[in-house]
């Protein structure tokens, strides 16, 4: 009898040890050929290594499995299937492109694993996810939330700085889905503003949008568009294109003598060493994060230093702190729930408040469609002295706005 008891005890202890050593598997899908995906994946690895160095979660180590979606929808969808069926992950994280995510959503719905997504701003994705998907958490602001936050930002800036006056808005948009989507969103905002409604009501009395062909798609000649912008003489000139357009756009603006009061770029990322160019001074941009947030946020400072120490490179896109946030938000939920059981974890994640290296505290609230939306606003940043500074939200600002956009003379 004693022998049987001992055998059973040993079996129980062994299975406990084996279970304790079984990692909690997190499956990430990111475009690794792009800097956003590359740095987000690295930041996730950093977060996992930090958590494992502290003993893991629930006595189990974390294991991160990253698959490259190569920015193609079919590969992104296949990656989700593979993570669920071959790698048998417990959670899905990652994300960047809206088009890729749109193809992934039906596959995710079939597995219904807890999913925390940091990319895909296109709100057609939340419509595809639907209001009943309680397993789905989306951290990046949706496109309409971004548009509203910019309007709020410009209104706040115009109120805080009496010399700033914004009435006429010009949008230069690339011909692809990203640019035309932005133009359509601005048309809606303008229609609302004309009725005195929406976040842009105080700062958009007139609007004009003109398309251009991005250098990424074989274009790169913006002069005809810039001539039209110059003729329109906007208070706010915004271009929605890609990183390859950033410097040539400024060069050609200088060439045609176009110098609006605010020169705003809204690409997903910026080219290497953009801040070193004298043309970058005073360029305003939209983004979720800037390295200068390190100076006001200890979490951001820790992330910055740890990332550089581990990868010997600087984070250059907000997808890096967002990737880090992705893992830590999940970890905080698991810690609070004390289990990875789905319903308990969802409840815990709904309550998590995580001070993110992005600079804001991440809290979950419903969006227009889904139950679990994280961040709801972008920031207004500005290149000053080769660095990106926050100029809005005012409570997070790291520098005063440089206004108006400095003259081209001597640059």
């Amino acid at each position: 009898m004693k022998k049987v008891f001992l055998v059973l005890l040993m079996a129980a202890v062994t299975s406990l040890i084996v279970f304790a050593a079984t990692p909690i598997k997190i499956g990430a899908v990111l475009p690794l050929g792009d800097i956003t995906g590359d740095q987000a994946a690295k930041a996730m690895r950093l977060a996992v290594s930090e958590i494992n160095a502290e003993g893991g979660l629930l006595g189990r180590p974390l294991e991160l499995i990253v698959i490259d979606d190569e920015m193609t929808p079919e590969k992104g969808a296949a990656a989700i299937s593979r993570l669920a069926t071959v790698d048998r992950v417990d959670f899905f994280v990652g994300g960047m492109s809206t088009a890729v995510h749109f193809a992934q959503i039906p596959v995710m719905k079939s597995f219904q694993k807890v999913t925390i997504w940091i990319g895909a701003a296109g709100s057609q994705c939340e419509v595809a996810v639907g209001p009943d998907a309680d397993w789905y958490f989306h951290l990046h602001p949706w496109d309409y939330q971004q548009g509203a936050s910019y309007g709020q930002g410009w209104t706040d800036l115009a109120e805080a700085y009496p010399d700033i006056e914004i009435n006429k808005v010009f949008l230069a948009y690339e011909e692809g889905a990203f640019g035309t989507g932005s133009h359509e969103a601005y048309l809606v905002l303008q229609a609302l503003a004309a009725e005195g409604q929406g976040a842009w009501a105080e700062v958009m009395s007139d609007y004009m949008g003109v398309s251009f062909k991005s250098a990424t798609l074989g274009g790169g000649d913006y002069r005809a568009m810039l001539q039209q912008a110059k003729k329109y003489d906007p208070d706010l000139f915004v271009w929605a294109g890609y990183d390859a357009d950033a410097l040539p756009m400024l060069q050609q603006a200088k060439e045609v003598g176009f110098s609006p009061k605010f020169f705003v770029g809204a690409p997903p990322g910026w080219p290497a060493h953009f801040g070193d160019s004298p043309l970058a001074e005073g360029v305003t941009l939209y983004g979720m994060w800037a390295p200068t947030i390190n100076r006001i946020s200890p979490v951001a400072e820790h992330f910055w230093n740890a990332y550089i120490e581990m990868f010997k490179e600087e984070p250059a896109t907000y997808f890096a702190p967002l990737g880090y946030t992705n893992i830590y938000f999940l970890a905080e939920g698991i810690k609070a729930a004390g289990t990875i059981e789905k319903s308990a974890l969802i409840k815990a994640l709904e309550q998590v408040e995580y001070a993110s290296p992005i600079g804001d505290v991440l809290k979950i609230a419903p969006s227009n469609v889904i139950k679990h939306q994280g961040f709801t606003a972008q920031k207004i940043l500005q290149w000053q002295g080769g660095e990106q500074h926050v100029i809005w939200p005012l409570e997070l600002k790291t520098a005063e706005p440089e206004y108006p956009f400095p003259s081209w003379d001597g640059r």
Partner: protein, 309 residues
Amino acid sequence: MEKISFLRKHRGILILVAILVVVAIWRPLAAIYGVQRGSLYALIGLPLALTLGVVGIMNLAHGDLLSLGTYIVYLFAVNTGMDPLVSIIPVFFLLFILGVVIYKLTVTRVLKAGHLNQLLLTFGISMIVLELMKVIWTTRPRSVYVDYSSSSTTIAGVRFGTYELLYVVLAFAVLIALQLFLKKTRLGQATFAVGQNPRGAKIVGINTDFVYLFVFGLSVAILGIAAGVMVPRFAIFPSVGAAFTMKSFSLVAMAGLGNLTGILISGIVLGVGEAIVQSIPGYAGWSDIVFFGVLIAVIMIRSLRRQSL
């Protein structure tokens, strides 16, 4: 009679000048931008025309080799501080060597194979070059800023950029140099002969293998000139040159095989067409349609004219 034959001989150039005068009066900026960008298309299209006309190979890696050229210019600028325009000289020779290596290792093996095999080979080279650039430099754009690249001047109340006039100068310079090479040098005459009739050239003792090798190397080398002049105005990223492959092929199709002057004329016509469309508010997205529409129209007119002869 002499006057009539002169007009007939230079009909293309005269039509081009007439078009430019009309556009310059109607939309002066579109004329300037069109000539500038059209000259760049021609500068990049000329070496493709040379390869296609003499070696008989449609090089689908043309644009990717141009991208590689921009990265080499970038490396010279970052590591030695060399001005991109000065780096044209070393990049020209480096790309010539690269062209020779690519030819010896790969192209020479498919010369007698069908066109499909040749296309597959150059497509493979294109993929390898593109992916190598992504691995080495990632997709994040880089740039080399020189202050003269955004210089401008005002003439008769029209303010326009002066840097891109370099595209015009270099396109004409390369065209004249190629014409002189083909007509005044022994190797050039041999190249011309091989382009006209490779079998006949071989029979009379011309080393056709060497001509192919030299022409392929020279074509890749000329991309170094284009890369050097592009870098101050373009972001550098792996697919920056990709769009130029199709545009270059379009110029060759429009000008006809072996017609180098026609490449320059076609480039300017298509560039001006593109610039006119871009200058009309709300119609910028139509520029590619116009580009290829003009191309199809010219090819069809030429085809109909041939049929009527």
